[in-house]
Symmetry: C2
Subunit: 700 residues, 2 copies
């Protein structure tokens, strides 16, 4: 459209300017932003992020100006260009996997290469034999091979055992035949498969001599390396537009009796003896198990940062936005900052507290994972030379610890990703009408994040496994099992404590020591576990009738773990010194706000467990209102501590400098290609656009 | 892409086919779908819908095949074409407003004309003088004038008194000057303004001789009727892409001292005497008040149908989708229908119950509105000839009834639109991975519906007004006011009953008579109101500190109203005869499921109110599980009764014939334009697409 006329350019927002408001907000809090950021991320990590940001920001390929205006084909084209440039930069700057990941997060949208790096080469490294790695890894690292990980099918997602694609062993030719017997066997949702990949790791049911050996991974070339067209008897394509994630080419894949060499079955663990045509099973399932735990742990780790995007935007905007006079003011006629209304605080400040809760929980989850990896490695080293049988013994002895890690990662993946996903939408709505604009920057993050609630174990499905673990732990506490060390883990301690005190009952002083709050959350887990145990073991209620209770139980366990992790993080010996007393005290209030708000929302089961009384819940509700008033003055500085750069947020409402209205107006009036089009609004005219829109889109 | 090869065309889904599964589902329920649909909608309404559907379905302009693949400019172009065609059909078939609205709903996306019909002509009819109607109405009906309703500004939404656009009276020239003094004065979010409208009703602060008279409506021509370019000193355009609603050209508008004639101020009520340059205030605000109530009542009415879209899709797909073996089966190896898992039922079946609850609530809301209109008309007729003063007296006497209607519409708008909006996302997630595909048909409905939670009164904001009404009612019950009839309304009855019984306490038999459930919901409203009254009147707590309590109170009041409306609908004398005993009994179970599920979710405040005990909540939770088992066999027939045609749902997952996988595959492989593009995946190649995508988009 014609540039804004001069009289428009001369206009500025009425009242105090956004920049002045944010300056006042920042001046009225004693939070030490840099110290808090260092405490959360370490100085090194922050510097590394800043370094990578400056590289991306300077590169025109990563310019985000047009993104919100583009259709899917234009967006995926831009994303492909970004994926290429990201790889070039990775080589140029010799970025590590971590640094690559930081860049990927800053760019803020999936690229069609996403699964090549994230899953294809990782799978090759972990499940390929040394020979297979030699054959494929170099080509994968130079992108001669672009790969994906093809597991889910049109008809089967969660239930991997139900996959229908077959890989039948041909003893004469020493090959496997990949085949899709049904329409529902089509691989589906496979990231990077639709248009980008030329190879796929394909999960297929291994068949040797009519006998089924379950799902295994096979490497299949699917497209020609020169023409990039599908190979014969392979039907592959993109599955179409989605609610979000539209820069990724999630794909489908069907095989019509496609033959691949024996060496293309990933064979580090189980494999087929080509001479005897015999299946050799894996002796060690722990690494596969470990990969899933690793992926989930990372979801837990990133949940806080994802939620912080929405909270940063909403807190800044609600500080700047003013609407109506203060309800209790008798003199002032000035409009009140929206963030001053308790109704807005109630939606945003517990979520602000949750960002920190999830952050410390994520760090804890990763530490737990790494400690486990370390101790597994040590155990293995101690047994070097004892061979496969020793390996098996080792796994037995570490099975309990693995089970605990697995249960924690499942429970926390479900809770933290649900909190982040739903929290983003709460933030969007708290921004009022402008939250609905793409320029708010929340909707796209929400839409792209939502699959996290479904993949790597649906958030409801996972709770079943967590409950099974908790019930098993409770059974062991009631009737200890010889040789099992599970009695020493965190869940077992909860069960034992609960069991010892249940008859005496519990009284937790929720207004006093913070540790009492943690204890109340633990008590509730104990109560719900033994209640479920009674239903399942004593009353023999059907499993199906207990699934809702299991979901509640797993959620309670995860909530306990988050509250505990937040509590522990603030009790680290160095935390006070590092943060300063004021900042540490505000964090403690955030801990109480998160915990008590959760407790209030879940009052029913806390009451049923006897962890508190109805009168206490009323007091808790009053405490929440008081904590919100106390946290309010620090809100802007607290989101500043997340150090999310404007470039990453790409949000008019969330700008660190507060120029909300200028930015909304600039994007709408100067960047918006729809404004180059002139409608013919008359219903009986066949002309729709009076000028030609082609010239318009090409400017993007 | 090349059409699917023959070997792909020959494939079909494994296991029992979707069509067979839905046939079995339908055969195993005794629900009488047609009788239930007639009961809900009347036969005439269903026939009318079918007639309109057949017209739209036959018209290529409304073909939806490409919709999910289009970018915004292509979509708005298609929507403009549809808007034109819709107007042509309206003339051709002489459709009434209701019939136009049915067609609009079936098309399922806003058109750029949406606000012309919905708000512009409506406002002219209601607030224009007979002369103004004569001048503009004819031109508006032929679309010579295409209009919009410009109220919200960049800096002000909810707070209409804070609007900044000014309309200054020029006594010499007998004109008004419209002006936008700040950037934040820009009109913003105005539907149909961005590209389509050539006129706008503009809400601006009336100024006469430096004195401010508050916001009033002015008709301004903004674009040339021939060129459709903006007039001088007017800056207007589209505000850019949004989370949804992208076929609507929500716009911005700025004035640089634009002069309009005296006759362009809407003057049916308040107006300016051009001779005396004097402001003549309105004597009757009730109609403006009435419009807002009408709009909200319609949101309440439509909430059930909107939610039913998601529930229909999710219930059908979860009946067809099978995953894992039955957890309690000892023999069968068949995979279990996902809808059989209690964890899935817990998410979907209370929402299925909610669709009916919202439907009957909406009908009740509209009846209440119409009864009020009727009695206002009668009162006015009775006073004909008594002039303006009589009008004023009439308004006083009907003020209480209007206040009740207003409060009910606010409370129910907030609750029902939140239920529908959040329920759609729950349905989407319950569909697992495929729910994320655009072809699921839920995401787009969700995204387009979300503004409903914010506009016409933000769902949190509204609760403040509702609580003010409830508190006032309670005060009147405690200290009756002479001449006020409010003591006879629904809320007052609740307050009186609660006040009489509060010392004796309440025991509601939630397992027995359904009326006890309704009474428990009423009791909770009474408790929360008097609790808030104590805080505000006795303890003088600040208003701001009570906003969260007010939100809870308003929600409780709305939940009571929904439960009551559902209960009353099933108690209509003819309902049993019309429905048949089996269907009536299932509806009664849905009533209990909705009510008890709500009660369980809100247990904390029911417990605090003393309406039930912790032990009762446990029993309620067991009842919910039992009710879900009982409702489950009827789920598919119950969604069938909503009679939502496939054409409207536009969903692979929700097809009435169950051909889920065939449709997903067809759309992905045969309609998806991305599959015509060949990537060059090598990171060091500058080529992104090996072929030219232009040829691709043009096919759409």
């Amino acid at each position: 459209m014609p540039r804004n006329p001069d009289w428009v350019m001369a206009l500025r927002p009425s009242g105090p300017q956004g920049s002045a408001i944010l300056a006042t907000e920042r001046a009225s809090s004693t939070i030490h932003v840099d110290k808090l950021a260092d405490f959360m991320f370490t100085t090194e990590d922050l510097q590394r992020r800043a370094r990578i940001l400056s590289i991306l920001d300077a590169d025109p390929v990563f310019n985000k100006t047009a993104t919100y205006f583009l259709g899917r084909i234009e967006r995926i084209k831009a994303a492909l260009a970004r994926g290429k440039r990201l790889q070039q930069l990775t080589v140029k700057h010799a970025w590590s996997d971590d640094e690559y990941q930081i860049a990927y997060d800053l760019i803020g949208e999936p690229t069609p290469y996403g699964l090549h790096v994230g899953m294809f080469t990782k799978t090759l490294r972990e499940q390929g034999t040394p020979e297979q790695q030699e054959r494929f890894l170099q080509k994968a690292s130079t992108y001669e091979i672009v790969g994906c990980y093809a597991q889910t099918e049109l008809g089967h997602g969660s239930n991997v055992r139900g996959l229908e694609t077959t890989a039948t062993w041909n003893p004469d030719r020493k090959t496997f035949t990949l085949h899709s017997p049904f329409l529902t066997s089509s691989k589906w949702w496979i990231g990077s498969l639709g248009r980008a990949a030329n190879h796929a790791f394909c999960m297929a049911q291994l068949i040797i001599g009519r006998k089924l050996y379950g799902p295994h991974l096979f490497l299949v070339q699917i497209r020609d390396l020169k023409s990039h067209l599908p190979l014969e008897n392979i039907h592959v394509g993109d599955i179409g537009p989605k609610f979000g994630f539209n820069t990724m080419d999630n794909g489908f894949l069907l095989f019509n009796h496609v033959e691949i060499p024996h060496g293309n079955m990933l064979a580090r663990y189980s494999h087929v003896d080509p001479v005897a045509s015999q299946y050799i099973p894996a002796t060690n399932h722990s690494l596969v198990y470990g990969t899933m735990t690793w992926v989930r742990s990372n979801i837990v780790l990133r949940s806080g940062r994802t939620l912080a995007r929405g909270v940063t935007i909403a807190v800044r905007y609600c500080a700047i936005r003013r609407q109506f006079q203060d309800l209790d003011a008798t003199d002032s006629k000035d409009e009140n900052q929206v963030l001053n209304y308790s109704r807005v605080q109630y939606r945003l400040l517990p979520l602000l507290a949750a960002t920190f809760a999830l952050h410390f929980t994520g760090q804890n989850m990763i530490r737990m994972y790494q400690a486990n990896q370390e101790s597994m490695k040590n155990e293995r080293l101690n047994r070097v030379g004892e061979g496969q049988i020793a390996d098996r013994v080792m796994l037995m002895s570490s099975a309990d610890r693995l089970a605990e890690l697995h249960a924690a990662s499942c429970a926390l993946k479900a809770l933290t990703s649900t909190t982040a996903g739903e929290g983003l939408e709460t933030c969007r709505r708290a921004c009022g009408g402008h939250g609905y604009s793409s320029f708010a920057g929340i909707g796209s993050t929400f839409a792209d994040y939502l699959p996290t609630l479904t993949w790597e174990g649906d958030n409801y499905m996972l709770t079943q496994q967590v409950s099974r673990y908790l019930l098993k732990t409770a059974r062991h506490v009631v009737r200890p099992v010889e040789g099992s060390s599970s009695a020493g883990n965190g869940a077992a301690t909860i069960m034992k404590d609960f069991r010892e005190r249940r008859n005496a009952g519990a009284t937790f002083d929720l207004q006093g020591e913070d540790s009492h709050i943690v204890d109340a959350f633990a008590w509730r887990v104990g109560f719900l576990t033994f209640d479920a145990l009674r239903r399942t073991d004593d009353e023999k209620q059907s499993q199906n009738s207990l699934l809702v209770d299991f979901w509640r139980l797993s959620t309670a366990f995860a909530q306990y773990a988050v509250v505990k992790a937040f509590y522990d993080a603030l009790r680290q010996p160095h935390s006070h010194g590092q943060l300063g007393a004021d900042t540490a005290e505000v964090l403690r209030k955030l801990f109480r706000l998160y915990s008590l708000h959760t407790l209030s929302n879940e009052a029913s089961s806390f009451l049923a467990s006897g962890a508190c009384t109805i009168a206490q819940i009323q007091v808790v509700n009053e405490s929440i209102m008081k904590l919100m008033r106390e946290v309010r003055p620090h809100a802007v500085r607290l989101v500043d501590a997340w150090k999310l750069p404007d470039w990453q947020l790409d949000s008019s409402l969330g700008r660190a400098d507060g120029r909300v209205y200028e930015d909304l107006f600039h994007r709408a009036s100067e960047l918006n290609p729809l404004n180059d089009i002139i409608f013919d609004p008359h219903p009986w005219s066949k002309v729709l656009f009076k000028n030609h829109p082609q010239t318009v889109s090409s400017k993007l």
